[in-house]
Symmetry: C2
C-alpha cells in the first residue's frame, strides 16, 4: 500500500518543502512477477537448466535457470524523487512496531499527526475524484454524493493473472479520514461499496465473491477513506493482522455498535520509521500497552 499511494499520486504543489524534487535521485523498484499458466510448458522443459543442491529419498532440490523472457520483472522508477517519496519507500521493508492505540491515544497522538499532514498530500486523490487523472483505470463508479465511490484497478496489478487482482475503491465524500471517523451513519456507504464492487469486479473479471477480499487499512497510507479489493489468493502487502480490517467485519462492528471506532482500542503494526511510531514512543513508555 505504500506503493499504491506512491504510484497513484500525481505530484503537484512544488511549494511544499517535503514535495520538492531532488533532481539527482531516483527510486527504482524491481519486483518479480508471478508465473503465468502459459509459461508452464516452457518452464518444465529442457530449456530450464537444473543444478542439484540437495537430495534425500524421494526429495530433490535444484537451482534452476530459465530463459530471460520467462522471467519478466515489474520495474517502477520515480524520477526525480521527492523527499516524501523517499521516506515512504524507505519504510516499506523495515522492522515493524506493534502499537495499541486507545481512543485517547488517537485524540492525543494520532489525530494531531493527521492534522499536521499538508493538504497537498491529497491532491492526487482530488484529481481522481474530479476526473482529472487516472480515468483510464476505472472499473466502476457511483457518483451519488452520499454513498458514491470510484473503483480503479491498482498499478500493482498487471491484469494478466486473477491471482494478484488488486483494485481500490475511493469514496466520493470528503472528510472521512480513516476508520476512526466511521460511525453507523456510514453503513449505507460501506454496504454500497461492498455490493457494487463485488458485482462490477465479478462481472468484468469473472470472479465470485468468495474469490475476493475487501478490506480497509488502519493506519491507512493516505487520509481519505478507501477500500482495498484484492484476490483472496493474493498475499497482498498490508493484508496482515494489525493493518487490514475486513469490510464485512467493519460493517458488523458498526451494526452492533455505531460508535465503536470512537471507543475501541485499535491494534496497529507499523514500520518503525513511520512518523507515528516516533510520536507513540515519545508519548507512551510501551507502545504495545493500552
Amino acid at each position: 500500500s505504500s506503493s499504491s499511494s506512491a504510484s497513484s499520486s500525481s505530484s503537484s504543489s512544488s511549494s511544499s518543502p517535503s514535495r520538492t524534487p531532488l533532481t539527482d535521485l531516483a527510486i527504482i523498484t524491481l519486483k518479480k512477477t508471478p508465473f503465468l499458466d502459459v509459461q508452464i510448458p516452457s518452464l518444465i522443459s529442457s530449456s530450464t537448466n537444473l543444478q542439484l543442491n540437495w537430495q534425500n529419498d524421494i526429495y530433490k532440490q535444484f537451482a534452476g535457470h530459465t530463459e530471460s523472457r520467462l522471467n519478466p520483472l515489474n520495474v517502477n522508477i520515480i524520477y526525480p524523487a521527492t523527499e516524501l517519496e523517499i521516506k515512504k519507500n524507505e519504510s516499506a521493508n523495515s522492522e515493524h512496531c506493534y502499537i495499541r492505540e486507545t481512543y485517547d491515544d488517537y485524540k492525543n497522538i494520532t489525530l494531531p499527526w493527521i492534522e499536521s499532514l499538508p493538504s497537498s498530500a491529497l491532491t492526487w486523490v482530488e484529481n481522481i475524484l474530479d476526473k482529472k487523472a487516472e480515468t483510464e483505470r476505472r472499473v466502476v463508479e457511483d457518483l451519488d454524493p452520499e454513498v458514491g465511490f470510484m473503483l480503479n484497478y491498482d498499478l500493482k496489478w498487471d491484469r494478466k493473472s486473477m491471482l494478484n487482482l488488486y483494485c481500490l475503491a475511493m469514496c466520493l465524500r470528503r472528510g472521512i479520514r480513516s476508520m476512526r471517523d466511521l460511525t453507523g451513519k456510514h453503513l449505507p456507504l460501506l454496504k454500497n461499496i461492498r455490493e457494487k464492487c463485488l458485482k462490477a469486479v465479478g462481472e468484468q473479471y469473472n470472479v465470485s465473491p468468495s474469490q475476493l477480499r475487501l478490506y480497509l487499512h488502519y493506519i491507512p497510507s493516505y487520509m481519505h477513506l478507501h477500500v482495498h479489493v484484492t484476490a483472496t489468493s493474493f498475499d497482498a502487502p498490508g493484508i496482515h493482522a494489525g493493518r487490514a480490517h475486513l469490510l464485512d467485519d467493519v460493517i458488523d462492528e458498526l451494526t452492533a455498535d455505531p460508535d465503536i471506532y470512537q471507543k475501541k482500542t485499535m491494534s496497529i503494526v507499523l514500520p518503525v520509521n513511520h512518523p507515528l511510531v516516533k510520536a507513540f514512543r515519545n508519548a507512551k513508555k510501551d507502545p504495545a500497552s493500552s
Copy 2:
C-alpha cells in the same frame, strides 16, 4: 501453521495406503527467489532491458528482462510422489476461498467437520502436554491446570534471526477446540498466556512487547487452543486478515461481550481444497454471504 503440525507429527504406519508410491507421478515446485544484494549493480545496468508500460508525471512503470543468471529459481522435485504428498502440495499453493461463517454455519457445517476428525490427529499435542515429546524446544511453561500453558519455539524458526521469531503457546486445558469455544471464563487463561509469553520471550530473546505479535488462527490447523507468538516484523504464513486474530483484540472482544464467539459471524480465508471449503460449498450457495 499447516507445516507446524505436519512437522510436529511423527509419521508411522507404512501400511497406510496413502503412503504408497505412485511411481509415474512427480511433484515439481518452481519458486522465484529473493534478489540478493550482490546482484543489484547487475540488475540496475544496461543488461536489463526495459519496455515502458505506463507513465504519469515523475512515475514510470516498465516490463524488465534481465540475464537468466540473475533470476535463479528454487526447484523442488518429489519423485515418485505418494498420494499424501500430492494432497499436501495441492493445498499449499492453491487458490483461496473467502467464507462468512455465521454461528449457525459453525454448528451445522464446521462443528460436524471438527467432530469427524480422528482423535489421533491430536496425539502429537498430547505428547507435548504429557512431556513425552519436544521438551527440548520449551521456552517457558506454567503447569496450572486452569490457566497453564507450554510455550515452545516453532520448527519454522531457525533461531538465527529475531526477524522471523516464531513460538507457539499451547494451553494445558483440554477441550477448547477453537475461538468458537472461548467465553469470558477463559479471560484469565488468555491474559496469563499473554503476560507470561511476553515476559519469557522478551527475557530470553531480548525483544520488547512492541516487537511481538500474539495471535490465534481461525480456522486453526489443529483443534486444541494455541497462540502464535511471532516477531512483529515477520510476514508469517497465516498472519493475514481472515486467519489471524490478535490476542489483544480477542481479549477486548471477550471483555466487552463474554459470549461474542457464540454469536458473531467469522470471516475466514481457506485454501479451496481444505475439506471445510467443500462442506461450505455443499451447504451454502455463496460461501461469502452471511
